[in-house]
Symmetry: C2
Subunit: 361 residues, 2 copies
């Protein structure tokens, strides 16, 4: 018997690039840019950027200047767009790492005009219905032709592209076309993220911004996921216990054993980014004879441990690994059980420093 | 007008050590150990360890060997206990950094006996009702007197100490006393974390393990928080918009403006650890004439942005900062609005690398 204590996170970069290539083919001939903001949704922006650069990706999106600066050495010849734009504190990042700001407001445009960086043509974000960042038609109407012509890309973002039939999709598409025709007839355009890719060629324009689907998330949940899962999260069993009928489990004693049971205490918790909302709802998978057994989480998920029901299993022992994310229980499955979305799940998961973390190439 | 794009997290180590000292006085003469596992609940274990070491703390608890190894240079003369215990992969950390494992199972004890580290006396965890890690009475009965005497501390953990009147508190206290009397009459003992400190001296034994309360969380929510808030989280306004009656906001169009409104788009999102469950529920504070205004979050929190209602405010402008956690809206308040606990909130928040993060000493 072996004794382990540390959770393990494996990130499959080969499958990630295969997902990227599938999306790229779906939206060709649009340029397939990769969205690696938020440290590549928590999974490690530098590693992800290197893998995508190696398969030919030359356009990247991050949220913040500091994120762009961190990946620049990994993607020397790429264009790096910064979605939150440029400001006083992030300006040095843009200058040093040759980043392209996405200008979202008149105030930011004024700042840019006072702090232009030679050789950089910014993109502009326009409002089409998300009511988040971007210039309204009224604001665009106040810009000079020279200013309008100075942008390298016109960008907007869809609000409801994960619902194929949502009325907002065509409303935003029409608004985007109106803005493009009136203000940016000759400027390359980008509207869609991963979810928009599945809405068809009308939504692709000159560049798509591939993020969530690349990481294996189903961004078109109205049909089966075409993406491969890229994550494996597992943790070792620290102890196996008999739990007598009537005994309580975990914080606030939220689970009471209705019969005599056997439990496994597994070395992972919300301190590793496993959602605490999986308390009494999530599952841990153990394999017997190659078959997955979905063992119910009992009681509250604590910071470092999860307790699960292995009453029906005979072979689980201390040192075995329970699985929390894999091909049998994907990020979308876990997120559903946790009452959240997979984007937030992986964003909170990957950044933790106490995993044994490996990248599969 | 200034333009900024980056969220800011300030961590007040002075107030943290004041909280520590208050807890220390409450549980004196018990040794006040500090719990800095999970990267000090996400806030930065090295910085927190240094601050506590400077005010005399010489006993620390972490969850994993790797966490102990990271803080060892900051606390050279301290004892570092590792709650998840020791295993094959973490053994080198224990040896290099002179860490003290908390042995939780017979299997781990066997491993320890085969891999003893000279000069280290492990602690032992015993089961008193949480049904998480620890030896049962039956398992303890099989240990030799020599083995029982070899432990430096006997440790257990309370399940419901944040509810003063919960029946589990006295049940666990009695179980702990029975175990101590029968197996560990001369071994120093530790039962309580922050929440147990407030249950009175019966629960303090020889050492307490101060964690959540030190970070400002109210671990005795049946009365007003005696701890100081130690966090300030703020983010800049990127854009201000007029939102027409009937317009939608954010992903999935979950908010529809019932009247003409004004909104601020603020540069922070769940990618920074701000819970997405604050969608349509959380608040952003803006100050006018020193008075806090709690502005409702409209629509979904996205990965990088939050949209809030500033219709009733006249002075908010691009570049101003909205506040997400501070003395007026503490981690417990935010966690309540997000439907979670403050422990998980700060654990997910602090680890993000795109904050401008400062430690106030």
């Amino acid at each position: 018997m072996s004794i382990y204590t540390t959770p393990v996170l494996n990130i499959n970069l080969k499958k990630l690039t295969e997902n990227y290539n599938l999306l790229k083919n779906l939206c060709a001939p649009a340029i397939p840019a990769a969205v690696i903001k938020d440290d590549a949704y928590g999974l490690g922006a530098i590693k992800v950027a290197e893998a995508l650069y190696a398969v030919g990706c030359r356009h990247f999106f991050v949220a913040h200047g500091i994120e762009g600066m961190r990946i620049r050495p990994s993607v020397p010849e790429a264009e790096i767009f910064v979605l939150q734009g440029i400001g006083e504190e992030s300006y040095p990042c843009f200058k040093t790492a040759r980043l392209t700001p996405v200008i979202c407001s008149q105030e930011m445009l004024t700042f840019w005009e006072q702090h232009k960086i030679e050789g950089i043509r910014p993109a502009i974000q326009v409002e089409t219905g998300l009511n988040r960042l971007g210039f309204s038609i009224a604001e665009l109407g106040k810009l000079s032709q020279e200013t309008l012509d100075s942008f390298s890309y016109v960008l907007s973002h869809l609000a409801c592209a994960d619902e194929q039939a949502h009325f907002m999709n065509n409303r935003q598409l029409n608004n985007f076309k109106i803005i493009k025709t009136r203000f940016f007839p000759n400027t390359p355009a980008t509207l869609s993220a991963s979810d928009g890719v599945f809405l068809g060629h009308d939504f692709h324009f000159d560049m798509t911004r591939l993020g969530a689907a690349m990481y294996g998330i189903n961004t078109a949940p109205y049909r089966e996921n075409q993406m491969q899962n890229i994550l494996e999260l597992k943790a070792p069993v620290l102890q196996i216990k008999n739990l007598g009928k009537g005994e309580f489990v975990g914080y606030s004693a939220t689970f009471r054993a209705p019969i005599d049971m056997r439990t496994a205490i597994v070395s992972i918790g919300y301190g590793d980014g496993l959602p605490r909302s999986l308390s009494n709802r999530g599952k841990v998978i153990f394999y017997e004879n190659g078959k997955p057994h979905f063992c119910q989480i009992l009681g509250r998920v604590s910071m470092d441990n999860v307790i699960c029901d292995i009453t029906s299993l005979t072979n689980v022992k201390v040192g075995d690994f329970g699985y929390f994310i894999n091909d049998d229980y994907t990020v979308d499955d876990v997120a559903r059980d946790a009452g959240m979305i997979a984007y937030e799940l992986i964003s909170n998961l990957g950044k933790n420093q106490r995993f044994i973390k490996s990248y599969i190439k």
